[in-house]
């Protein structure tokens, strides 16, 4: 038996155990077909966004030396047509994926980080700290997320940081709730008592014992929040609250509306960015649901 082998250090053992659980997770995840599709789409989009500079060049968003005439419908030269400045829409949509994905990821990471921090600490330290933190969480929970995000984006300067902060600061409460519940459950287990008896401090218990146990939940939550964040980014950009100097999918839709593409019936201008948003948001949702149902089999059956 490897577990009793005295030659193995605890560190090696821990690493082995972790590798085994990752392998088990992947085996179960593979059984979720929708999750696999989502993952494949995401991998494709990530590759496209990463290697975008290879096929579209950073001057794609330049207004001054645009390659085509304004508002051309799709043709061999411009497969998706051109915008009001004569820029290639295919290039813009590919280029826009970089900002949309980046903002979605960063906002979700910020949101989940805040939620996890508050959730773990509120679950670990009981008493007035937890009460105050949970009151704040509840308050954020009842606030209409979109309205608050719009308000925040309005009062700050127009930049990507603003968008990330506005989304991150308004979407964390659900994570905080979930993580706190899980923390409370973990803290009642005997090994936490053992760690405390051996002299483990607050930091040790939270980082070494509680955090690894809430990590799977945090992972599922991040995946689900990314899709919310991507939609929120598109919404803010569409309302003209994004950074006007960068190209994003929501920003393209706003440009289309301002250029009169709607009343002119230029559907080819509006369709691609919207489909891109929907496909990526759906892919993240599918992945998130698959991760959730692997981690919580009871949910997996009922969903």
């Amino acid at each position: 038996m490897t577990t009793t082998d005295p030659a193995l250090s605890p560190r090696t053992l821990a690493r082995q155990r972790r590798r085994a659980s990752v392998a088990r997770f992947w085996r179960q995840y593979r059984a979720e077909r929708a999750g696999l599709y989502g993952l494949a789409v995401l991998a494709l989009c990530a590759l496209l966004a990463l290697f975008a500079p290879l096929f579209v060049g950073s001057d794609v968003s330049s207004v001054t030396d645009a390659p085509g005439r304004p508002m051309q419908s799709p043709s061999a030269g411009f497969p998706l047509g051109t915008d009001q400045f004569g820029r290639d829409l295919l290039g813009l949509v590919v280029w826009g994926s970089r900002v949309s994905l980046l903002v979605g990821l960063l906002a979700a990471v910020l949101s989940v980080a805040i939620g996890t921090l508050i959730g773990v600490t509120a679950g670990h330290f009981k008493g007035w700290y937890a009460t105050v933190m949970m009151r704040i969480t509840d308050w954020f929970l009842v606030m209409p997320t979109l309205v608050l995000a719009i308000a925040l984006a309005t009062v700050m300067s127009r930049s990507l940081t603003t968008t990330v902060v506005a989304i991150g600061v308004t979407t964390w409460p659900t994570t905080a709730r979930l993580v706190r519940a899980q923390t409370l459950a973990v803290e009642t287990r005997p090994y936490i008592e053992r760690a405390r008896a051996l002299g483990g401090g607050h930091w040790h218990i939270m980082s070494r014992h509680v955090l690894p146990n809430v990590m799977p939940l945090v992972l599922a939550q991040t995946t689900l929040i990314i899709s919310t964040a991507i939609l929120a980014e598109a919404t803010l950009a569409f309302l003209g609250l994004g950074d006007p100097t960068v190209v994003s999918w929501g920003g393209l839709l706003q440009d289309a509306r301002e250029a009169g593409a709607v009343s002119a019936g230029d559907w080819w201008y509006l369709v691609p960015p919207g489909i891109a948003i929907a496909v990526v948001a759906l892919a993240f949702t599918l992945c998130g649901r698959a991760v959730e149902s692997v981690l919580n089999p009871r949910l997996g059956v009922s969903r």
Partner: protein, 349 residues
């Protein structure tokens, strides 16, 4: 002796007060008071936030009001006095709170009209739009969700769930714009059948007016229903799936009830319990989430007003609307909390 007797006395009193009634009756008023107090605290917090959040906007509100025109210093000072902007911040804050409690949110910078008037003017339009959409998507979500769960794993279930998830991932404003292009402007063989925006064409009265408004209502409502029904569907579906293994359903079937009677009379009412909370929360959320759809369809409601106010920015109007949106969600959440124990007595202890 006295120390021993007091708790017993108190207990006695409580028992006589609650004695003949059901246990629910004794717990509910306290539960109700707690929830209402919590909601009041939240509303106050929203009021405070709405004041301070929008003071962070850089720039001078008076300059925005004059729209960059050349104005003399005396005139600027007069504007400041008119809107109370010459007072120190804490005086502005106390004034704001005091007036807000009496329902006065100040005067809109751009419309030169009381904020309350602008809000009450737009509110019925928003309620018409969200109300219609809310009824439709709730009914559709519950109907399809039940069907889906009852035939779990079948083709219908997979199509339903997939469609709901897809529509849920679509930005509402994009769907609205597409509907306008396809059905209002018209492409190819499809003629423009619906108006591109607004709420009425004007100059109509009586029944013709009602028809006209309904005609304008179609596309915004379709957009809202499409993006919102998915959530209700998924929640109803998983709630019903949780009930499906229950013994009482086996009993109902064993006594020979038809399948759809088992579903309608036994399974669905129980499965709807968790959905009720969602329904109320959705109602509050829809009022706030209608900003985009109203902007896209130029619907003269609260959301469109919010967008207009933001672009100025018209501080008093933004503050007032922010308060209304947040209050809608808080009030609906509280209502959900209050109704739930009446439907499911287990919750109220």
């Amino acid at each position: 002796m006295t120390a021993d007797a007091t708790p017993a006395l108190v207990e006695d009193k409580q028992q006589t007060a609650a004695g003949p009634r059901v246990r629910k009756g004794s717990a509910y008023p306290r539960y109700l008071a707690g929830k209402v107090a919590g909601a009041a605290v939240s509303l106050l917090a929203v009021l405070v936030t709405s004041f301070f959040l929008f003071r962070l906007i850089p720039g001078d509100p008076v300059k925005t009001m004059t729209g960059g025109r050349q104005v003399s210093a005396e005139q600027l000072a007069a504007y400041r006095r008119e809107f109370g902007l010459d007072l120190p911040l804490w005086r502005q804050f106390t004034d704001y709170c005091g007036k807000a409690l009496t329902g006065d949110f100040g005067t809109s910078y751009q419309f030169r009209a009381p904020v309350v008037d602008k809000i009450t003017e737009a509110l019925p339009n928003t309620l018409l739009l969200t109300g219609t959409a809310f009824v439709l998507y709730t009914a559709l979500g519950i109907f399809l969700g039940t069907r889906s769960a009852w035939r779990r794993g079948g083709l219908g279930d997979r199509v339903n769930t997939g469609l709901a998830l897809t529509l849920y991932s679509i930005p509402s404003f994009w769907l609205g714009l597409l509907l306008i292009i396809v059905l209002s402007v018209g492409i190819g063989p499809i003629p423009g059948m619906f108006p591109t925006g607004g709420m009425e064409s004007g100059g109509k009265e009586g029944f013709a007016y009602v028809v006209d408004v309904a005609h304008h209502l179609v596309l915004p409502v379709v957009t809202l229903v499409a993006v919102e029904y998915g959530q209700t569907l998924l929640v109803t579906r998983s709630a019903l799936l949780d009930e499906m293994g229950s013994d009482y359903l086996t009993t109902a079937r064993a006594k020979g009830l038809r399948d759809d009677l088992v579903r309608r009379r036994h399974a669905v009412p129980n499965a709807l319990l968790p959905t009720v909370t969602l329904i109320f929360i959705n109602l509050g959320r829809t009022v706030a989430g209608v900003i985009l759809v109203e902007t896209v369809f130029s619907w003269p409601g609260l959301g469109g007003l919010f967008y207009q106010a933001l672009s100025v920015p018209d501080l008093p109007l933004v503050q007032g609307l922010f308060f209304v949106f947040a209050a809608a969600v808080i009030v609906m959440n509280t209502l959900a909390d209050l109704v739930y124990p009446l439907l499911d007595p287990r919750v109220a202890r």
